[in-house]
């Protein structure tokens, strides 16, 4: 579908460019400087829109009163609509600001989907692969067919603005029934639902492309045929599997290629990020060339790559641009046709059919799964089925020979606006009202980190005894395969070990220790500051640490048996105390430097839900990376125990000196 558009527009652009460059402006006089708008207009305009979208997004983060109600995406669409109508009034040439399908699909979409795949919570994904697959394939299929046939049936009773054949309406229904990953990310990242709901709806949004685009193309091709024959239907059905599985394979290949290339390119550091950007994008384009699913390809590539690569990720502002353009294009299209009956029926059907689909599928899943979908979960899943720019892109690529195209296009925009504005803005209060379990913001305690791994192994073992291949044993089997076969090939410095990946546990430990260290450091800092301020009042004290030392000494003297534990005289003890608080300061500073150097370097979360909920929607907060910090964890347990002893009321049993 896209290559037709792409080639057509490419010719047009080349023609334009040639015209611009060769239209040398014959000037009368020599000018010192010139206005060369013609030669730079096209890229300049695109970049200006990008810039505008980023500024808009920035402004929205400031206007907190508005963003509390409406999600960012809806505000951007509104802004786009406003700007579009303004430009329409002032009769600026439409060519400058319409969102061509190819611009959207080939440039704006890939970074978003790749990043989405990269930040997909892998563990939750693999636990729910069955429900995600069901929702994205069967659910979308059901939605498309149900909406299409219902509309076709209703067109017998109600006259719409335009007539349409069965295949045309099925084309429309297949594009309108797809949940959009961009819209879902944009709305759900602000409301922090628990991983379970998020991964289900997000996984569905990502993988239903395999079905949507196939159906769309299928019905498009069918509408051209006069007499669809059996072989056409067979080929159509086969194309589902080919497209989805083909996309999957392309994604896996791209991921492995990137991993291997980055493994061997560590001598030339600049190449690694280049590969990470280029290879997935090439995979996307390759999939599109082979008429496989490019979205699945690049999403799978991102997900798989995560394990084997730690690199810098570009933060994408494409999301903002997409929504802005959506609003703009809505105004710009001249062939719009508003048909109230059609629009309202479509919206109604979308909601109703989706709800029915979700309920039926969840009922089926609950019979076979451990983790059940509660009523609240099902409600959020059906309510969170937002439509977005992908539907719009597909709608604008419907061939103009279809008479109802204008009506379809308008309805698509209306549905998108409805879902994004209404559902997007009401979903947050609903989530709060229904007390949906939100993502636990606390860092995992050591207990949880250790025991979750432990329980997985236990269950895998019990499943083995019971002779059943359940989730845990499949996950365990994959983990072993990954460790023994894939990681040595794809990662550098990975040795085959019989035992398994401890990074989560070590990371949790590092995080907690650092947190304690920071707390400790700030306590000491406060003590020092207090001491300094006291020193300035009385000039008797020789060192700034005198006061805390005295306090500590008093505690020590108060506890029984201290003479035997601390045989040193007081001046010696003071000196020792001074030495080791200096050491502590130095160590603290070191660790703070390590932590500071993590910012923007290797530190980032590899899970979409955790990283977005830390600071804000689109900023990347640093996370402690275990690989770096592991080697510089100082032995702080003793320090912390001393601090506690000075703080606590109860008498310490003995004091440990670290020299």
């Amino acid at each position: 579908m896209l290559h037709f558009l792409f080639s057509a527009l490419l010719e047009d652009q080349e023609g334009n460019r040639a015209h611009n460059l060769t239209a040398e402006y014959r000037q009368q006089r020599v000018h010192a400087a010139d206005l060369r708008w013609q030669s730079t207009s096209a890229p300049f305009i695109y970049v200006s829109w990008l810039f505008l979208a980023c500024i808009a997004k920035l402004l929205f983060t400031r206007a907190t009163s508005l963003t509390k109600i409406f999600p960012d995406s809806s505000l951007l669409i509104a802004l786009g609509l406003a700007i579009g109508s303004f430009l329409e009034q002032s009769q600026v040439s439409k060519a400058h600001f319409t969102l061509e399908s190819h611009l959207f699909f080939l440039y704006l979409l890939p970074p978003i989907i790749f990043e989405a795949g990269y930040f997909m919570p892998n563990r939750a994904f693999f636990k729910n692969w069955d429900s995600i697959l069901l929702f994205s394939v069967v659910g979308t299929l059901f939605n498309a067919l149900a909406i299409g046939f219902s509309l076709h049936f209703l067109s017998g009773f109600i006259t719409f603005a335009h007539e349409f054949t069965i295949f045309e309406i099925l084309q429309f229904s297949s594009l309108i029934s797809a949940v959009d990953p961009v819209a879902v990310i944009a709305v759900f990242e602000e409301i922090h639902v628990n991983d379970f709901i998020f991964v289900n709806i997000f996984g569905e949004a990502l993988f239903n492309d395999g079905v949507t685009v196939v159906l769309f193309n299928l019905f498009k091709q069918f509408s051209w045929l006069d007499e669809p024959q059996a072989v056409d239907y067979v080929a159509g059905t086969a194309s589902f599997f080919v497209v989805s599985i083909g996309g999957l394979i392309v994604g896996l290949l791209a991921a492995f290629l990137t991993a291997i290339l980055t493994k061997y390119s560590d001598h030339v550091l600049i190449l690694a990020p280049c590969f990470i950007m280029l290879v997935p994008y090439m995979g996307f384009l390759a999939a599109e060339t082979l008429s496989l699913s490019p979205i699945i390809a690049i999403a799978v590539c991102g997900m798989v790559m995560k394990q084997y690569i730690k690199g810098n990720m570009m933060s994408s502002s494409s999301e903002a641009v997409i929504f802005l353009f959506l609003g703009l294009s809505a105004m710009a299209k001249s062939d719009m046709q508003w048909d109230t009956a059609f629009v309202s029926l479509t919206i109604l059907l979308c909601i109703v059919v989706r709800t029915i689909g979700v309920i039926v599928q969840c009922a089926l899943l609950n019979r076979f799964r451990g983790k059940a979908f509660s009523m609240v979960d099902q409600f959020i899943l059906s309510y969170g089925g937002l439509r977005g720019a992908i539907a719009f892109g597909l709608a604008s690529s419907i061939s103009s020979s279809v008479p109802a195209k204008g009506m379809f296009l308008t309805t698509t925009i209306a549905v998108i606006c409805f879902t994004v504005f209404l559902q997007g803005s009401t979903i947050r209060p609903l989530v709060n009202y229904l007390k949906v379990e939100t993502k636990n913001p606390d860092d995992p305690t050591m207990t949880e980190a250790v025991y979750s791994k432990y329980l997985d192994y236990v269950i895998a073992g019990i499943e083995g005894i019971a002779g059943q291949k359940g989730h845990a044993s499949v996950a365990h089997g994959f983990e072993r395969f990954n460790n023994n076969v894939l990681c040595p090939i794809l990662m550098k410095n990975h040795s085959k070990t019989r035992n398994f990946d401890a990074t989560k546990i070590v990371r949790a430990y590092s995080k907690l220790t650092l947190r304690d260290a920071m707390n400790l450091s700030s306590k000491w800092q406060n003590n020092k500051i207090a001491a300094i301020s006291r020193q300035q009042q009385s000039h008797v004290l020789p060192t700034t640490l005198r006061l805390p030392f005295e306090h500590w000494l008093k505690e020590l003297k108060a506890c029984p048996g201290h003479e035997t534990a601390c045989p040193l005289s007081q001046p010696h003890m003071a000196a020792l105390f001074g030495i080791f608080s200096n050491m502590l300061d130095k160590r603290m500073k070191e660790m703070q430097d390590v932590l500071a150097s993590q910012h923007g370097d290797e530190g980032f979360c590899d899970d979409y839900n955790t990283q977005t909920q830390r600071v804000g929607p689109s900023s990347r907060a640093a996370d402690v990376d275990s690989a770096q910090v592991r080697h510089s964890i100082p032995d702080l347990s003793h320090f912390s125990s001393i601090d506690e002893r000075t703080e606590r009321e109860s008498h310490p049993k003995h004091v440990q000196f670290i020299v």
Partner: protein, 193 residues
């Protein structure tokens, strides 16, 4: 003969104090599994039989799981180390998904936690000491981290759970530490009918 055995089993099961809702199909399935594990045809399982299960052979906690199985199953006849079918089903029934509406949901959670606890408690004195914990941790992740880090992690985890600061974790402290974890979901296997 086989079906008679099954009926007896079901009746026995329903009579036992621990109300295990195992239906007839599940019992038939588990019985065929039992028979396939019991290669020598002795009518009971020994440790080697279970250790031969391929999944357990590669599981880092394999031997601990088998040990816990035998301990929980035959707690009256500890020395025997034999597992008959009734005991086999009884232990596996611990891992049934808990129906939260039913009254014995609390029992179910405690049973599951008991299994996890027993795996740690090597000498079966009802407490997990630091050394026992280190052993388990070592078998799970030992090769990837240094002994020093292992010690620290073990210390940290024990510290978090150890409410009365006696340096070891009792069953109650263990339950409390696992409060936040969704045990009912994590430690459940749905036996396919």
């Amino acid at each position: 003969m086989q079906f008679l055995f099954d009926c007896d089993c079901t009746q026995e099961m329903n009579k036992s104090t621990n109300i295990i809702a195992v239906n007839r199909n599940q019992i038939v399935r588990l019985y065929s599994r039992f028979l396939s594990l019991d290669k020598k045809g002795q009518g009971f399982l020994e440790r080697e039989d279970l250790m031969n299960v391929p999944e357990l052979a590669v599981n880092p906690l394999g031997d601990r799981i088998v040990d816990a199985f035998f301990t929980l199953a035959g707690d009256e006849l500890e020395s025997e180390k034999r597992l008959n079918f009734r005991q086999f089903v009884r232990v596996l029934a611990f891992f049934q998904p808990i129906d939260r509406s039913k009254k014995n949901s609390l029992n179910g959670r405690t049973d599951k936690l008991k299994f996890a606890f027993i795996m740690y408690d090597l000498n079966k004195n009802g407490y997990i000491t630091r050394e026992e914990f280190k052993v388990i941790l070592n078998s799970m992740v030992g090769a990837n981290i240094t002994t020093d880090q292992l010690d620290k992690i073990a210390d940290r985890t024990i510290e978090e759970a150890d409410v009365d600061h006696d340096g070891r974790i009792s069953f109650d402290e263990f339950c409390k530490a696992m409060e936040k974890t969704d045990i009912e979901e994590k430690m459940s296997i749905r036996f396919l009918n």
